[in-house]
């Protein structure tokens, strides 16, 4: 008699069970993070987790930093959702954010103070979305017409966007040659998101939640959203039922790129108030993981974003308190992602006990 294990594919899994598996993964990741930090710092895990919570929500500023970090991740994930639902591998969100950010910074520099702030902000959001639309439409056009590989195309456009940003920085830097644009309109605050309800980041929260809700409704209830899902499942089916696949690809990438471009404006006007290569903070890539892990569900995306933001902000405090450097927070994020992605495997497959030679 031999006993062992083998994997079988699950036919279906109840949502409850799937979420239970994810919850176990989160808990396991927390345990492993704790063990790793304990091994490095030789400190007790309760203190480590206390520092984590303290770092993420321990003061009013820290709480809002975490919320803002979550919102900025969520808006990019929402922007990526239509493209990925169409199985269009948009790896170019970084570039789309950057061109949106460059557009926003340019508007702040050239029009700040000469038009009312509300008008300026409205124009900035539109123009930055347009910049993102162009950046999204280019690879979509070539995909639709020539069937080029969109993964490489969007990826390479990131580097074009990086050079474009460098160009803008050299154009606007003070003093010349310093590579630093500095905070734009520091005195007048023209083009900055205003403080609402006594909260600095209120406008970020409102904008991001509205965008996220609109994307969710669009994907779920609109005809266009349905077309995206069909094209994503099978282009042939889509053609068979009379969907104009080329048009859907281009339209969807305009939406996706447009939201990512607007995210660039939200980052520039709401948070950084400058333009530099650092404004994306890698969100264009992290958001891909957020969107996939949440299966494009808006609530799940918000949850995953919140969790990642919480852990990243908390990790900063762990690093400070236990004399580690910033790599500690990257290790923690890596461990969490490993478990979360790993959990998807156990949602799709199950481990079964093999008895005797029965498996043959």
């Amino acid at each position: 008699m031999r006993t062992g294990f083998h994997l079988t594919k699950r036919d279906t899994i109840s949502p409850g069970k799937a979420w239970a598996i994810r919850l176990i993964a989160v808990l396991l990741s927390l345990v492993v993070c704790g063990l790793v930090i304990m091994a490095i710092t030789k400190d007790n895990p309760v203190r480590v987790y206390a520092a984590l919570i303290d770092g993420a929500i321990g003061s009013k500023n820290r709480f809002w930093n975490t919320i803002r970090s979550m919102m900025l991740l969520l808006v990019v994930a929402s922007g990526l959702t239509p493209a990925f639902r169409m199985r269009f591998w948009n790896i170019g969100a970084e570039g789309q954010i950057l061109v949106g950010g460059v557009a926003a910074a340019g508007m702040m520099i050239y029009f700040g103070g000469s038009v009312p702030n509300a008008v300026l902000l409205f124009a900035i959001l539109i123009i930055s979305a347009l910049a993102g639309i162009i950046w999204g439409l280019i690879p979509a056009f070539f995909k639709a017409v020539l069937n080029t590989n969109e993964t490489l195309f969007t990826l390479m456009l990131n580097y074009v966007a990086i050079q474009l940003t460098n160009f803008a920085i050299i154009l606007w830097e003070t003093p010349k040659g310093s590579n630093s644009v500095g905070v734009i309109n520091q005195a007048s605050r023209a083009g900055w998101f205003p403080r609402l309800f006594g909260v600095n980041d209120a406008m970020i929260v409102i904008l991001v939640l509205v965008i996220t809700a609109l994307v969710a409704v669009y994907m779920r209830y609109s005809k266009q959203g349905y077309e995206i899902a069909v094209v994503g499942e099978s282009k042939d089916t889509a053609r068979y039922v009379g969907i104009n696949v080329r048009k859907v690809i281009m339209r969807t990438m305009m939406i996706s790129g447009g939201i990512c471009g607007m995210a660039g404006a939200i980052i520039v006007c709401g948070a950084s108030h400058t333009i530099s290569l650092g404004i994306t903070g890698g969100r264009g890539f992290t958001a891909i993981i957020v969107a996939w892990m949440a299966h494009f569900n808006a609530f799940a995306m918000a949850l995953v974003s919140a969790f990642l933001a919480f852990m990243q902000q908390g990790a900063i405090q762990i690093a400070t308190q236990f004399s580690l450097n910033e790599n500690a927070s990257e290790i923690i994020t890596g461990i969490i992602l490993f478990f979360l992605i790993g959990s998807e495997f156990f949602i799709n497959y199950k481990l079964e006990r093999t008895k005797g030679g029965a498996a043959q």
Partner: protein, 420 residues
Amino acid sequence: MKKKLISGMLAVVFMAVTLAGCGGNSAGGNSGTTGGGTQEASSEGAAAGEATDASAIKVGVITIGDENEGYTEAHLKGINGMKEALGLSDDQVLLKTNIPETEAAYEAATDLVDQGCNIIFANSFGHETYMMQAAGEFPEVEFCHATGYQAASSGLTNFHNYFTAIYQSRYVSGVVAGMKLNEMIDNGDILPEDAKIGYVGAFPFAEVISGFTSFYLGARSVCPSVTMTVKYTNSWADLSLEKEVAKQLIADGAVLISQHADTVGAPTGCQEEGVPCVGYNISMISAAPDQALTSATMDWSKYYTYAVQCVIDGNAIDVDWAKGYPEGVNLITELNEGVVAEGTKEKVEEIEAQLTAGTFHVFDTSTFTVGGKSLEDLITEGGDNEKYAAYVSDGYFHESELASAPAFDLIIDGIDSQVD
């Protein structure tokens, strides 16, 4: 289908991880020490004019890099020096390292204020406007920014700039380089006209230009035939790029390398290529044992001790602070015995004595020309060059005297600055 999904996802994750790695640090982490749960702001009593007990003081430090990067390492040494000099305990100094030049700098500053800091230092050029933003919001906290230039014009009484007269150290390290070139010429290794220095610069603006000009003037004061080529990395700290640029310069005929970039990239390349080099911030002897001659450096602890002492005593901090050799702030790191040319030590001591006494001025306008003309003639011609009139008198350019940040940004004859 699901299998494809997973493999696709892994591909995305892989790309995300590798590309995020290329992009550098963005999240901005920290290292150092803080007390466990000190969130409530408790920064009363920090304003100038009001004394603060030394045991109650809290110092916040924001740095672009960490101890693995020479520029920040020199600052952290200065902070430790200040800590010892004033007898502060570990939990009175809160460090936030690896803070990029984005809103992360502002967030770090507000978090330090929340934790009760009375005085906050930031060390990178691009941090400046974020410090000004925080300084405007927290008038009871002192903010000091290294390498910046806007304190005087900011209208904020609690915002200050500081730097050192690093051009003096650069000049002395240039003399060491020139002596080495002379030795190579005397040994018949190179012809006098081949005495070409390669310089790895970060960005083409005053801080870097002033530094390499004084270095070059030092080298030329002992080796008249020397020329210099400057290439830029467009980054403050990029180890592999600095190494690559150093090697390119060597391939183009440079027989000696110096740098204004923050890592050991250039000396590592020089050690491999067998070309002597002069470093910045920290001794490069461990990175290039057979090639490093010395490094231009400064003792930041003098400023940190001064500024924190000001807060303790309730005195105002200088709007612009830039001290040099006379105050013992500037120096060069140990000479690499056996690698530097004979007689270097004596020559260095001679120049250092003159700098300390204030009898010698690095930017002596009779020692250089710009486009074949003296600086005085350029100023008389007018146009853009009129702005230098405020700096030039008594036959020399008064570097770091009007403001702490370097101001000399002309490319003098003999230097080829290759901005691409």
